[in-house]
């Protein structure tokens, strides 16, 4: 395990946020090969999970808020949807972060998938209320699966900064 990096907000918040935006823009390219399109994972759920595990802080909720607004603007969805979904994933992880400490890689992946599921359930109900139509469960499940597959990135972010501030161990 590499030595933990110091908790500079630009490094543990800024760079992951920029990488998420870059990944979102790249996966938003209109490309279809033999009728199949690129998947559209929600990269922002990776830091939403990792930031809550690394340490409690004032900044991450507001960074997630901004990140969610940018996602809504980029994807053309209703403004405020993804901020609420990202915070719905962040909040329970923050509350149960003591339970998550020391869990195995697989167990953490399950927790990450549960946090993602909570975000998608929030989005599902918010869109149902907003538009009066239930979004397709198959479409929701498809995006959930590709997002849940991103856990290795979350694990790497946690490993990099988890021990940076021993007060929150």
């Amino acid at each position: 395990m590499a030595a933990a990096a110091p908790l500079n907000p630009l490094r543990w918040l800024g760079w992951p946020m920029l990488l998420c935006l870059l990944g979102t823009v790249v996966m938003g390219i209109p490309l279809r090969v033999y009728g199949l399109q690129l998947p559209e994972p929600v990269f922002a759920l990776v830091p939403a999970f990792a930031w809550a595990v690394i340490r409690p802080s004032v900044l991450p909720p507001f960074v997630l808020l901004g990140l969610g607004f940018l996602l809504d603007l980029f994807w053309g969805g209703p403004i405020g949807l993804w901020p609420a979904c990202l915070l719905a994933a962040y909040a329970p992880v923050l509350i149960f972060r003591n339970v998550l400490a020391g869990q195995s890689y697989v167990a953490m992946w399950v927790w990450y998938a549960a946090a993602c599921a909570l975000a998608f359930v929030t989005g599902f109900y918010m869109m149902t209320l907003d538009s009066g139509v239930m979004p397709s469960l198959l479409a929701v499940a498809g995006q959930f699966v590709v997002t849940a597959a991103l856990f290795p990135f979350a694990h790497r972010l946690i490993e990099r900064y988890e021990d940076a501030d021993v007060r929150f161990r």
Partner: protein
């Protein structure tokens, strides 16, 4: 934790105020337009290599498949020749019929070609960003076509970019019909690849394979744009396999469509005040003119909520009278004339004492 609560409250407040799907141009705020303007060149640069790769792959495929493609095109040409002869005959017949009937057809609809630079395909938002905006005449609500059929409509216009709401988006509603039975329905997107047909009118009007076209109801889309083919969904509901899925997604045509059946002046629909109540010529009335009735503009006062007893000059006050108790105070007149059997109008104060006869309106 406080920061979290504040952020959640802020996010919920913003989503409740969002109006993405409305047809009002002002609902597409400046923030969205600015982000679209910034993202358009970035998306264009990122997607350009994939466009070149696709063009190269098409060229290579065409080179190696030239023989089979040639024979297939010959067969299509023979079939198309038959259709062409029929189309010429029908066009001529149509022209004669129109001349006989004096029908005036809509003018041809101009089109704008655009390239889509981003494509969101999630369950909660299905939109694309096209690199043509108000600088090329694109307006809110313009229909967007792909190579084979309808793609969606414009929901946001910036100076150099416009946002397309796809038929598959959760907030998309498109009035459609099937030409076989002329059954109308609303095509509702749900974030999946096959939008749902809802509110299907008439009994059992659909079957798999039916063509679906826009019905033109509501005036957003012109009638007859190809949408897709009816299929049965996993959940047993009628859905549509979209024609636009068959073609490439990086080029679209935006129809600069105007609905000529709608009012040109939207201000004509703005709510106006109620018309003034019909004044009664009190000078010719058998009751004679009450002291305040002869003032000019008294009839127009019926539009406003009366606040002072001088509104007693309104017509209904003279249509019906009844004996009033000596201590009765004048009350404001009602805004609409209603011949009630025993009203208590303010004119009662100005009316003569109990011996006054009841007067009915002339109708």
């Amino acid at each position: 934790m406080v920061a979290l609560v504040v952020a959640v409250v802020f996010a919920l407040a913003v989503i409740m105020g969002d109006r993405r799907e409305t047809m009002r141009a002002d609902a597409y705020d400046k923030t969205r337009a600015t982000v679209d303007r910034v993202v358009t060149p970035v998306g264009g640069v990122l997607s350009a290599p994939f466009g070149w790769m696709r063009g190269g792959a098409d060229a290579i495929g065409a080179y190696f498949m030239a023989g089979s493609q040639n024979s297939r095109l010959r067969q299509e040409l023979i079939a198309a020749g038959k259709w062409r002869d029929e189309a010429i005959a029908l066009r001529e017949e149509n022209g004669r019929m129109r001349t006989l009937l004096g029908v005036k057809t809509d003018p041809p609809i101009p089109m704008v070609f655009a390239r889509t630079v981003t494509d969101s395909r999630g369950p909660f938002a299905n939109t694309r960003l096209a690199n043509a905006g108000s600088d090329r005449g694109v307006k809110q609500g313009n229909p967007v076509l792909g190579e084979h059929g309808l793609v969606g409509r414009i929901v946001g216009v910036g100076p150099t970019a416009s946002r397309i709401l796809l038929l598959t988006d959760v907030e998309s509603r498109t009035p459609v019909l099937t030409p076989r039975t002329n059954a109308r329905a609303i095509l509702i997107g749900d974030g999946g690849p096959n939008p749902k047909l809802a509110y299907v009118r008439t009994h059992d009007p659909l079957q798999e394979g039916d063509r679906v076209l826009t019905s033109g109801d509501g005036g957003v889309f012109p009638r007859g744009l190809p949408v897709g083919v009816v299929v049965k969904g996993f959940d047993g509901s009628w859905r549509v396999a979209l024609d636009s899925d068959a073609g490439p997604i990086d080029y679209v045509q935006i129809m600069l469509f105007k609905d000529f059946s709608q009012l040109v002046d939207a201000a004509a629909l703005a709510p106006k005040g109620l018309p003034a109540a019909m004044p009664v010529q009190t000078s010719s009335s058998i009751l004679g003119a009450p002291p305040s009735a002869a003032k000019p503009g008294a009839a127009g006062a019926a539009d406003k909520p009366p606040t002072k007893p001088q509104a007693a000059a309104t017509p209904q006050t003279v249509t019906v009278t009844m004996p009033a108790p000596p201590a009765a105070r004048p009350k404001p007149a009602a805004p609409k004339p209603k011949p009630k059997p025993k009203p208590k109008p303010p004119a009662a104060a100005a009316a003569p004492p109990p011996s006054t006869p009841e007067v009915t309106p002339p109708y």
